[in-house]
């Protein structure tokens, strides 16, 4: 692969977005877990819950700030590195981003200051409301960002305007209620909840292994495992729902994820294992599970899912159709704002839905109308994203997703029905599992966005055309700058996170004797002979 401006811009976007998403999932989930804990505190007035709230809020704060810091870049990077994209679809794509600021981020950021500084400045219920507003703001943020992202995967409610050379919104409601966006939103926030649950359980398990802060750790596991179990089930269900949507709207992405070169007879089988070969356009060492793919992709036993080769043939036809629209567009542009010939306008309107496919030829020639047959065939094969990275990142993500359901169910069961008695091997596993949800989330984004290639907006605008008119040197400079800068910040963040986890909560709070007597049975303890639930052994 030659490293020009397109590749560098993609690399920079991928890098800054994936860094950003190291912090976002924890913000999404931990904000809600902290709000739940504070609500329990307000309702029961028991100091242990205040302590838990403050402890997890401290870790939330360390993480939150880098989410905000890396988010600043995301808002401006479209204009900086993707100026043609910004011009071409800003009329639609800009709206959810601006609404995100107006409706969600403003609320989240305004109240987060009060959440940390306002403990003695307002009543307890008022402070809990503030914490909830931060959590709701964070989650609304995700909604609008995913509406924007969902539109890139499935561009609805917009059409091309030849006078302004860009896509313009025709229906805000279609953009808003885009089914892809809705499924993606629930899938993504649930993934954030799972991430935070795994994090809380892992850190608490680490305390239990060292017999530290037992009160705080067990209650935290109880909250996080219940929340995490519901979320893990939701991630997989909504992931399946996204899969169903993808198969309808982005058939090529689905076929690539499945490494399905030929259209299979319905109901299609699911490739559990394969080594896809891009050159030969076939798979080696396939292990198939019959019927499963057909059920996921079409919810039926009779509908067919098209394979890569058939989709390429369809795309070749779309390129030829798009060329007719391109030809008309050039004539309309010649008129420079004056009313063009009616026949030309009609020609454009009849074929404009495939205009984006004609732009795929820009990679080979400045004037797509002069493209040769070989170039058209080559461009139609360009619509296939690299298969094996998608095939494998998707499978690892799914396996991790099922792993989370199992882990959460296990901890929920031990917390609810076994008197919060957690065996040491399970606790060790929980500590080692902490990075897993991040891996799953990053692989999920990779599958969604790499699988969208070669488009920035599916079927509308190719990635290669979306970049700014910058020099490769400039982008290389900022790419290196971002990598270094972010890495330093990330190391500092990890250092502080570990420091505050090691330090533990501000002070341990014992329960009252009467409350202990009432709950002695449920709290029977087996982490060691001397470990009374109220005690916090010296380190």
């Amino acid at each position: 692969m030659e490293f020009g401006i397109v590749e560098l811009s993609r690399l920079q976007f991928a890098m800054t977005a994936m860094y950003h998403f190291l912090f976002v999932p924890l913000t999404l989930g931990l904000s809600i877990i902290v709000a739940i804990m504070e609500t329990v505190y307000v309702m029961t007035n028991r100091p242990i819950w205040r302590q838990m709230t403050k402890f997890w809020a401290t870790l939330f704060g360390i993480n939150f700030v880098l989410g905000v810091a890396t988010g600043i870049t995301m808002e401006f990077q479209f204009g900086m590195n993707w100026s043609y994209y910004s011009h071409y679809v800003g009329d639609i794509f800009g709206a959810p981003l601006a609404i995100e600021g107006l409706m969600a981020f403003f609320m989240e950021a305004t109240f987060v200051g009060l959440m940390f500084f306002g403990w003695d400045k307002m009543s307890k219920p008022a402070h809990a409301v503030v914490t909830w507003l931060v959590a709701i703001g964070s989650n609304f943020s995700a909604l609008w960002i995913l509406i924007a992202n969902g539109w890139m995967q499935h561009p609805v409610g917009a059409e091309f305007n030849p006078l302004t050379m860009r896509m313009e919104m025709t229906s805000f409601f279609e953009v808003l209620f885009n089914t892809v966006a809705q499924a993606k939103f629930v899938h993504t926030v649930s993934a954030g909840y799972v991430t935070a649950s795994v994090f809380v359980i892992g850190v608490s398990a680490w305390y239990l292994l060292r017999s530290r802060h037992i009160e705080l750790a067990r209650r935290s596991i109880a909250v996080a495992s219940a929340f995490g179990l519901a979320s893990a089930l939701s991630v997989v269900t909504l992931g399946d729902e996204s899969g169903y949507d993808v198969s309808g709207n982005q058939q090529m992405k689905m076929a690539a994820i499945e490494a399905m070169w030929e259209t299979k007879e319905a109901p299609a089988s699911f490739n559990l294992f394969a080594i896809p070969d891009m050159e030969a356009r076939e798979n080696h060492y396939e292990i198939e599970i019959p019927w499963v793919m057909g059920l996921i992709g079409t919810r039926s036993l009779t509908e067919e899912i098209p394979g890569i080769k058939d989709l390429v043939a369809q795309n070749e036809a779309k390129i030829r159709d798009g060329l007719i629209a391109y030809d008309a567009l050039m004539q309309i542009r010649e008129a420079r704002g004056q009313t063009p010939d009616e026949a030309v306008v009609a020609q454009f309107e009849d074929h404009s839905q495939n205009l984006g496919y004609a732009f795929l030829l820009r990679k080979y020639t400045d004037d797509p109308l002069t493209a040769t047959e070989e170039q058209i065939v080559a461009a139609s094969w360009d619509t296939v994203p690299p298969v094996w990275p998608l095939f494998w990142s998707f499978r690892i993500m799914v396996a991790l997703g099922f792993g989370f359901i199992g882990t959460m169910a296990y901890f929920f069961w031990r917390a609810s029905f076994k008197g919060m008695d957690f065996p040491r091997p399970a606790l060790r596993l929980a500590v080692w599992m902490i990075p897993a949800p991040w891996l799953a989330a990053e692989l999920g984004w990779f599958t969604a966005e790499f699988g969208r290639q070669p488009w920035t907006v599916d079927g509308v605008l190719p990635t290669a055309m979306s970049v700014s008119a910058l020099g490769a040197g400039e982008v290389l400079l900022t790419l290196v700058g971002f990598v270094l800068f972010y890495s330093v910040l990330f190391i500092i963040e990890m250092g502080l996170m570990l420091k505050y986890i090691k330090k533990g909560p501000y002070m341990d709070v014992p329960e009252t004797d009467s409350w202990m007597a009432d709950h002695a049975e449920r709290l029977k303890c087996s982490t060691g002979a001397n470990a009374s639930p109220t005690a916090t052994p010296a380190e």
Partner: protein
């Protein structure tokens, strides 16, 4: 949906031009004092405690304030896509510097107090200084360049192309007039930050802020007046020479623009706009007097008014231009040809009408809860998670 036809496109464009100004003003007035305080930290605080007091005056609010900046970016994207595409890609390396400086700020606020080491804290003090001073300066430089016109053109595809090599693009921004505009914005925001510290602190921090702030306000007034004279005497304006199509499609290439004449012609055509520069200079001088005489609430109001005046004066003087091109004037972006579609402008207006008042309401409530001086006792109290 035909609801959007309730308001005609030209009216929506003017409304969004005003809202663009409101957002920039909201950003400069709120985040402006954060940046001013950042730039002042090394000078108003000699001890760690004094610096912590200064930092904690903005600690609970900077995050919300900064959203004005993010929202500004989002709103330009949604309402003025060609401007978003052109300006951020054209001022590429300058934008990178601003982003890097702005990223330092949240991290500095949050992480400074997390370790009890003098080296650690000193390093973050300088990060906060850079995070305040650099954007404050560069925003002014950017505005200066917008007034002068930037060297860009649009291709027939509407791809914005900023001319010159990477180095020429960046250092080309540092034209004398643009640097003067940078001095205006930096000194204006330092004065504003000082007015904030004057309101929120007492003792030595407050005293130093008053002294530095009064000087900064006078410098800002002088630099702003000088920029006005320069603009009248030696800088070309721009005019649309073809027929103005206020309801036409957003395609800058459809209109003809000529460079020449003076921006100051706007004051002949719309004499009432003189109120903006008068408020700008008057506000600065009143803020300087207030800082000298130790008035608290009125001083921050005056410095806020000066920011409103200065930013409005730029917009009103240039109207209908938003970003002129000095190498290819026909590519210039104006209110009439660089907006979003009719439908998008309308939808975004509805959303803004609902949420902007809500934002102002809860922001005011938060400021009310946090009202009062930041003291040593409050900073060291274990009940609070102060910085």
């Amino acid at each position: 949906m035909i609801l959007h036809e309730l308001i005609s496109l030209d009216v929506l464009r003017v409304i969004w031009w005003i809202l663009l100004g409101v957002l920039l003003i909201g950003f400069a007035v709120t985040d402006g004092f954060d940046m001013g305080v950042g730039a002042l930290i090394p000078f108003v605080g000699k001890t760690d405690m004094e610096r912590r007091i200064a930092i904690n005056t903005v600690g609970p609010v900077w995050e919300g304030n900064q959203v004005w900046f993010i929202l500004g970016g989002g709103a330009i994207f949604a309402a003025w896509p060609p401007l978003y595409a052109m300006s951020f890609s054209g001022f590429y390396l300058a934008m990178f510097a601003v982003l890097a400086a702005l990223i330092l700020r949240p991290v500095g606020f949050k992480y400074r107090s997390k370790r009890d080491s003098a080296t650690w804290r000193n390093a973050w003090d300088w990060a906060l200084f850079v995070g305040g001073a650099v954007p404050a300066l560069l925003f002014g430089v950017a505005v200066g360049n917008v007034i002068l016109g930037a060297p860009f053109h649009l291709t027939p595809d509407q791809l914005p192309v900023y001319e010159g090599s990477a180095a020429a693009k960046f250092f080309g921004l540092l034209r004398p007039f643009a640097l003067l505009a940078g001095v205006v914005s930096l000194s204006m925001l330092i004065a504003h930050g000082a007015a904030w510290l004057n309101l929120k602190t007492e003792g030595p921090v407050q005293q130093r802020a008053r002294t530095i702030g009064a000087v900064a306000a006078v410098v800002a007034a002088a630099a702003y007046a000088l920029a006005g004279v320069w603009l009248a005497m030696g800088i070309d304006g721009y005019t649309i020479t073809s027929e103005v199509a206020a309801n036409g499609p957003s395609n800058p290439l459809f209109s003809d623009v000529a460079k020449g004449g003076s921006w100051m012609a706007a004051y002949g055509a719309r004499p009432w706009i003189i109120i903006a520069p008068v408020l700008g200079i008057g506000g600065m001088l009143m803020a300087a007097l207030g800082l000298k005489s130790g008035k608290e609430i009125s001083t921050i109001l005056w410095s806020g008014i000066s920011i409103v005046g200065v930013i409005s004066s730029v917009g009103l003087t240039m109207f209908p231009f938003i970003l002129p091109s000095n190498t290819n004037p026909n590519s210039s972006l104006t209110v009439w040809d660089a907006s979003s579609s009719h439908q998008t402008l309308f939808v975004m207006l509805v959303v803004s009408v609902i949420f902007v008042p809500l934002i102002l309401a809860y922001t005011s409530w938060v400021y009310k809860v946090l009202w009062g001086k930041v003291t040593e006792e409050e900073v060291t109290s274990p009940a609070n998670s102060t910085y």
